[in-house]
């Protein structure tokens, strides 16, 4: 009993690391741009494919695959603002039509997912783990790859939060998130911050994709279910609140992995959505959110 409990907790923590990489980026993008990126999971998939290309096709070391995935998805994210978001923003000229951004990124999601299918085919691609071996904890065993996911998530998110707190550019990101007009009046270049935020946000998903590729395999639709689950997580944590998203990621992942002890495992994916709907009814601003719902 205690052994399986410990095993499920460890599984939950690893899964939480993945959710956090994913949901914190999504939440950051929403907080700064007021855009919900429905295509977030496709960047996770692209990260996995970049890792596959680097490691399997080009025979480069695993770490190059992860860095390549980070750089590649970061660049794609940088392009997303000037190519897609900015033109719609200009046309709307300040009118609040937030749902249109959802429709726009839904289109991007379909476009990217089918493009991956066209380029790479629908096969499940295997990527060798970046680190081999298994850590034996007596009661249970964890592969080093899973620990790497958790470790990388911890390091990257610590760096991200330090960047947002300490670096001038990071402070500018937070300023825009609080009040875009005032930030602009203080001389902050909004377009630049928007592009940077999108780049950082989707790069976190890209790294997640590269690190999870050995555990999940890679296929075009690998990221989409994560996107939907990350919506539930960001709502739980409070929309646009990256710290809340971090906390909610681990709450949801632990609830999911522990639920296996009580309910059949095929239903565990329902938990996040049930929590989301209850949360929206009782406390739409989220666990750590403040003020009224938008």
């Amino acid at each position: 009993m205690l052994e399986s409990l410990l095993e499920f907790v460890i599984q939950g923590l690893v899964l939480g690391g993945l959710y956090a990489l994913f949901a914190v980026g999504l939440s950051l993008i929403f907080g700064v741009l007021d855009v919900i990126n429905v295509a977030h999971g496709e960047f996770f998939a692209i990260g996995g494919y970049l890792a596959f290309a680097a490691v399997v096709l080009l025979h480069l070391p695993g770490v190059v695959g992860v860095l390549g995935a980070a750089a590649g998805t970061f660049l794609l994210g940088l392009c997303m603002y000037p190519l897609l978001i900015a033109p719609l923003r200009r046309r709307l000229a300040g009118r609040p039509q937030a749902p249109l951004y959802l429709v726009l990124t839904l289109g991007l999601s379909t476009f990217l997912q089918s493009s991956l299918l066209a380029v790479a085919g629908g096969d499940y691609l295997r990527v060798p783990p970046q680190v081999a071996g298994i850590l034996d904890l007596d009661v249970t065993a964890v592969s080093y790859q899973r620990l790497l996911v958790l470790g990388a998530a911890t390091v990257l998110l610590t760096l991200l939060f330090a960047f947002l707190r300490l670096h001038p550019e990071g402070l500018a990101v937070r300023a825009v998130s609080l009040n875009p007009e005032a930030a602009q009046a203080m001389g902050i270049n909004l377009s630049r911050i928007f592009a940077l935020t999108l780049g950082l946000g989707v790069a976190l998903a890209g790294v997640g994709g590269a690190l999870m590729a050995p555990l999940f395999n890679v296929y075009p639709a690998v990221g989409f279910p994560l996107t939907i689950k990350a919506f539930a997580i960001t709502i739980l944590g409070g929309m646009g609140n990256p710290v809340g998203a971090l906390v909610a990621s681990f709450l949801v992942s632990l609830a999911e992995s522990l639920s296996v002890m009580v309910i059949p495992s095929q239903w565990q994916n329902l938990i996040a959505f049930a929590v989301m709907i209850v949360m929206l009814l009782l406390r739409p601003q989220g666990l750590l959110g403040r003020g009224v719902s938008r």
């Binding site: 919900i36 046309r91 937030a98 289109g107 379909t110 476009f111 539930a232 095929q266």
Partner: protein, 308 residues
């Protein structure tokens, strides 16, 4: 008669005449499915285009209707006519239930909740093996009785039946949106909900009405799909279905009802036509159409020539 209405009538007549001009099984199959999609697109437009309540869950309502119809006919031997009504009723009921929490939610949140709802429906459909057949879905159930036996004649009869039901349903929705106070209330809620409330419009009632109508007609479309395709599997409830429907509406023109119908017929034709080029290119095209039209032609085909 305005130019746009004339164009719509022309397309309508053209579509209806198709089985007489081209009685080919492939053309008939595509045309029948396009008509079903047109109904689903129009139902989405009623809620999201007219009333401004963006739903990302129409795949879920569609799947509910399809599963209700298929399961009722397969397990309980219910007549397909009754099955259609059952599908519509279940869609409307769940839509109404979704409408209550939706009263407190706007924009983003509503879209996310409805997306989550569709995902729940998909998970239940995949895992409730006894009722839904799991991942393989429900098949081998009766379709409409009394249709001709011959391969072509059967498809033609099915086509006429589907088009009649779709045309009737779209006409009802159009009538409600354009000719009744409810339609005016829908638009008022879309433009400014607070103002609408201040003017004494019962926004709660009209939002719930829009939800029930929209999800009910989506359920009806699901029922038609079930009896036509004769297979209902969890794929129906996937987000790709919602994406395709939203693509059709954006392509045709939000908030016009006949625009989405036109958009559905054309985009579904393109979608199936691209299968000849390569089976993956059709969804690339759908994604591309959504992005280009949202950014550059927000009024869709229906709004050509009008300023944004």
């Amino acid at each position: 008669m305005s130019g746009r209405a004339r164009l719509a009538t022309l397309v309508g007549v053209g579509v209806t005449a198709l089985p007489a001009v081209l009685p080919h099984p492939f053309v008939l199959t595509i045309a029948t499915q396009a008509a079903i999609w047109a109904l689903l697109a129009a139902s989405w437009d009623l809620l999201s285009g007219y009333t401004g309540q963006i739903s990302f869950g129409h795949a879920g309502f569609f799947a509910l209707g399809a599963y209700a119809a298929a399961a009722a006919t397969k397990h309980a031997g219910v007549s397909p006519w009754l099955g259609l009504l059952l599908g519509a009723a279940l869609g409307a009921a769940v839509g109404l239930l979704t409408g209550f929490p939706a009263l407190r939610l706007r924009g983003h949140y509503l879209a996310l909740v409805t997306l989550g709802l569709a995902e729940i429906i998909r998970l239940v459909a995949t895992n409730w093996l006894d009722l839904t057949g799991g991942p393989f879905g429900i098949h081998d159930f009766r379709s409409f009785p009394g249709l001709p036996e011959g391969a072509i004649a059967h498809r033609q009869a099915m086509y006429v039946l589907v088009v009649a039901i779709v045309a009737g349903s779209v006409a009802i929705m159009y009538g409600i949106c354009e000719r009744t106070t409810a339609g005016k209330a829908f638009r008022a809620i879309r433009e400014d909900e607070v103002l609408a409330q201040t003017l004494g419009i019962d926004t709660t009632r009209y939002k719930l009405l829009a939800f029930a109508l929209s999800s009910g007609f989506a359920g009806l479309a699901g029922g038609l799909y079930a009896y036509y395709i004769q297979l209902v599997s969890p794929v129906v409830a996937s987000a790709a279905t919602t994406s395709l429907v939203i693509g059709m509406v954006v392509f045709g023109g939000l908030g016009t009802l006949w625009g989405p119908v036109l958009g559905a017929l054309l985009l579904y034709g393109l979608y199936e036509g691209l299968r000849f080029v390569g089976v993956v290119y059709n969804l690339i095209a759908v994604g591309f159409v959504i992005m280009v039209f949202v950014i550059f032609f927000p009024r869709g085909l229906a709004g050509r020539g009008r300023s944004a």
